[in-house]
């Protein structure tokens, strides 16, 4: 029974993190799949979302500015707005130039965001990060929530405590996962409508033939900036959810620019860029592979350890993560060369955004 519960909770955590990555992949799909914009600063936008959310919603802390203890939804909305605003600035500067420049600028902005979070210690607690970030559903069990409105209207502190004690300790986990899945569903519906709207059709026209679209009087640059901002807004939201999931964020490890950004790219390309369902499928699939490969590699290391003592197996253990990265990198190259349109190709004939 306990084992079954363990599997269930592992499955939920796969869905949770996979779901957050699915949101990032959907955001990237708006930028790359729809508009052909090459963003390699995904981790930066997610970090902005996560930190904005964290600073606004955590309880007052001596280590960093705030927290303001604001409601979770306000934190999440602010996360989306700030991430979108930063994307707007980058977009205005770089989108008229060729895709390579946008790539360089976005990887740069991700670095700058990291520098800022690391160095503005009084604001962000620097490299030590922010702790005790409220997680949706679980936050109801925190004293500051159940002693204040609207929870205090229903019952007093003792009543709430008794109620939460009567639930299993993991009660919030399915609720949190479900919330994330609902968010994905909502974003998916919105993006599908956007894709089929005149706006979406214009994006396709621009991507297929920029000059023709321009000649037809479309404001190409403006449309692209809009797509870039929309994608970043979704990424900011994913960042806020990621902060909730982790509850402790720091600038270097949580938002390792290379790893996070890269995984999202692999997910989108594998799933099928330009296809929203492909983005979601790719995210869950690659996350399962990524997370499962950890098990496989660790098990193989243990097997090696049992049969020989030539190598220092401890070294292998600490380096297994890099092997995973290496393999996923090779996987991307393979997909790019062999199956560039992914598992679920875009339903329109246009393939990759040409420049």
């Amino acid at each position: 029974m306990d084992q079954l519960l363990g599997f269930f909770l592992y499955f939920l955590s796969l869905l949770t993190v996979g779901g957050i990555y699915a949101l990032l992949a959907l955001g990237l799909n708006v930028q790359w799949g729809f508009a052909g914009l090459f963003n390699v600063g995904i981790a930066g936008f997610a970090a902005v979302g996560a930190y904005t959310y964290a600073l606004l919603t955590t309880d007052v802390s001596p280590f960093h500015m705030g927290g303001l203890g604001l409601p979770l939804a306000i934190g999440a909305i602010a996360a989306m707005l700030l991430s979108g605003a930063i994307a707007g600035v980058i977009g205005v500067i770089c989108i008229r130039l060729r895709a390579d420049y946008l790539a360089i600028a976005t990887i740069g902005i991700a670095e700058i965001i990291k520098l800022f979070l690391k160095n503005q210690t009084e604001l962000t607690n620097g490299p030590r990060g922010i702790n005790k970030i409220p997680r949706a559903w679980e936050h109801f069990t925190e004293e500051r929530f159940y002693t204040s409105a609207p929870m205090s209207w229903i019952s007093d502190a003792a009543g709430w405590q008794a109620f939460f004690d009567s639930l299993p300790r993991w009660w919030w986990q399915p609720m949190f996962t479900l919330t994330i899945l609902l968010v994905i569903f909502g974003v998916y519906i919105l993006l599908e409508r956007a894709r089929l709207s005149p706006w979406g059709r214009m994006m396709t026209a621009i991507r297929e033939n920029e000059h023709a679209a321009q000649a037809a009087g479309k404001d190409v640059t403006r449309r692209r900036i809009e797509a870039f901002i929309l994608g970043a807004v979704i990424m900011g939201m994913a960042g806020a959810l990621f902060a909730q999931h982790l509850r402790l964020i720091d600038p270097t490890n949580t938002f390792d620019p290379a790893k996070m950004t890269f995984l999202v790219w692999v997910m989108l390309i594998a799933g099928g860029s330009g296809n929203n369902r492909g983005a979601i499928l790719g995210a869950f699939l690659i996350w399962t592979i990524w997370s499962g490969s950890e098990l496989v590699i660790n098990t193989s290391i243990e097997i090696i350890a049992n049969y020989q003592d030539m190598f220092d197996v401890g070294v292998l253990r600490t380096r297994a993560g890099y092997l995973r990265m290496l393999l996923i990198g090779i996987l991307l190259q393979f997909i790019l060369q062999r199956y560039p349109s992914g598992i679920l190709p875009e339903s329109r004939p246009a393939a990759i955004g040409k420049q």
Binding site: V40, A103, I112, F262, I269, L323
Partner: protein
């Protein structure tokens, strides 16, 4: 004047800035050549620098262990350069060449992937921890110190900095000769100028591409080794940290303009070091934690006001 201002400024800010600039300049040469000739922003370039430095460390360590030799890093760098160029050729053959006729963004993505592949390979083989490249504190070059002290302008150049600057000058001279005087060098400029015309002129563009990797790889490994000599240790993120300043240098000098890239590298290096000088009051003008931000800011300003760079490079 010298005692109160110049000594500190020149020795602790200007010369380190120049040294950093040399490293950026060498790295930016490869970036700008790839951008000009193969038409893509190569995100894996910083990793070549890093890998070259790791090879150099390994060669000199093994030479010490097996043969009891203590090789100067610059000697150990020579075989490392060959190894790095070989790897670059393989990467080009298997990961970049399939995209030669595809939209350029495909190969940018492939290079972004290679950045991770190369780095995680190095992390897997050598481990994630820092390695000591050169031990001990480097003494200032005695000859320079004596000579300048007699002029009452005492300049303290650590030997490592002396080697880095001298090495950069020598490489630059060879590079200039290559581009201006040799057949392949002129062809590199021609392809950078117009790949389509090069093709209908009958120039063997693939040979030019190989030459680009050789030159870019050579300069990158030199830059990586110089960087390791300067900071005296190795870490797997050292290449990635160089990437942004090198892109900034290439854009500042104008894409496809190798001499522009060198100039850009020197400017970025100086700007980063001088930004920490207490220009106003006693505190550093810009906190050293934001050094990378200086390069990024310069790059963004260039992209806004003059994307073709100072020396009228190519804009896409």
């Amino acid at each position: 004047m010298w005692a109160s201002f110049g000594f500190e400024f020149v020795n602790f800010y200007f010369i380190p800035g120049l040294v950093l600039g040399c490293i950026y300049a060498l790295g930016a040469i490869g970036i700008t050549l790839t951008f000009g000739i193969l038409r893509f922003a190569n995100f894996a370039h910083g990793e070549v620098m890093m890998t070259g430095a790791y090879f150099t460390w390994t060669i000199s360590t093994l030479a010490g262990l097996w043969l009891g030799w203590s090789l100067h890093p610059l000697v150990a760098a020579i075989p490392a350069i060959f190894a790095a160029i070989g790897i670059l050729m393989l990467i080009d053959r298997y990961f970049y060449k399939p995209f030669r006729n595809a939209p350029t963004i495909m190969v940018v993505m492939a290079s972004f992937g290679m950045m991770l592949v190369v780095r995680s390979t190095v992390q897997f083989i050598w481990g994630p921890n820092q390695l000591t490249f050169v031990k001990g504190i480097d003494k200032p070059n005695e000859a320079v110190r004596q000579f300048t002290a007699d002029l009452d302008l005492m300049i303290l150049v650590p030997n490592k900095h002396f080697w880095i600057m001298a090495g950069t000058v020598i490489i630059m001279l060879c590079f200039t000769y290559l581009l201006e005087r040799t057949r392949i060098g002129k062809a590199m400029r021609a392809v950078s100028d117009s790949p389509d015309l090069a093709r209908v002129t009958g120039i063997d563009v693939e040979a030019v591409v190989r030459a680009t990797w050789v030159v870019g790889g050579f300069c990158a490994v030199a830059a990586g080794v110089f960087l390791a000599m300067d900071i005296q240790f190795l870490e797997t993120t050292m290449g990635f940290r160089m990437l942004l300043p090198m892109f900034a240098a290439a854009i500042l000098g104008g894409i496809g303009r190798p001499f522009g890239a060198v100039f850009g590298g020197l400017i970025i290096g100086l700007a980063e070091e001088l930004s920490a000088y207490p220009w106003i009051g006693d505190a550093p003008f810009i906190s050293p934690g934001y050094k990378t931000g200086v390069a990024f800011t310069i790059m963004i300003i260039m992209l806004i006001v003059r994307p073709s760079g100072l020396f009228k490079g190519r804009t896409f």
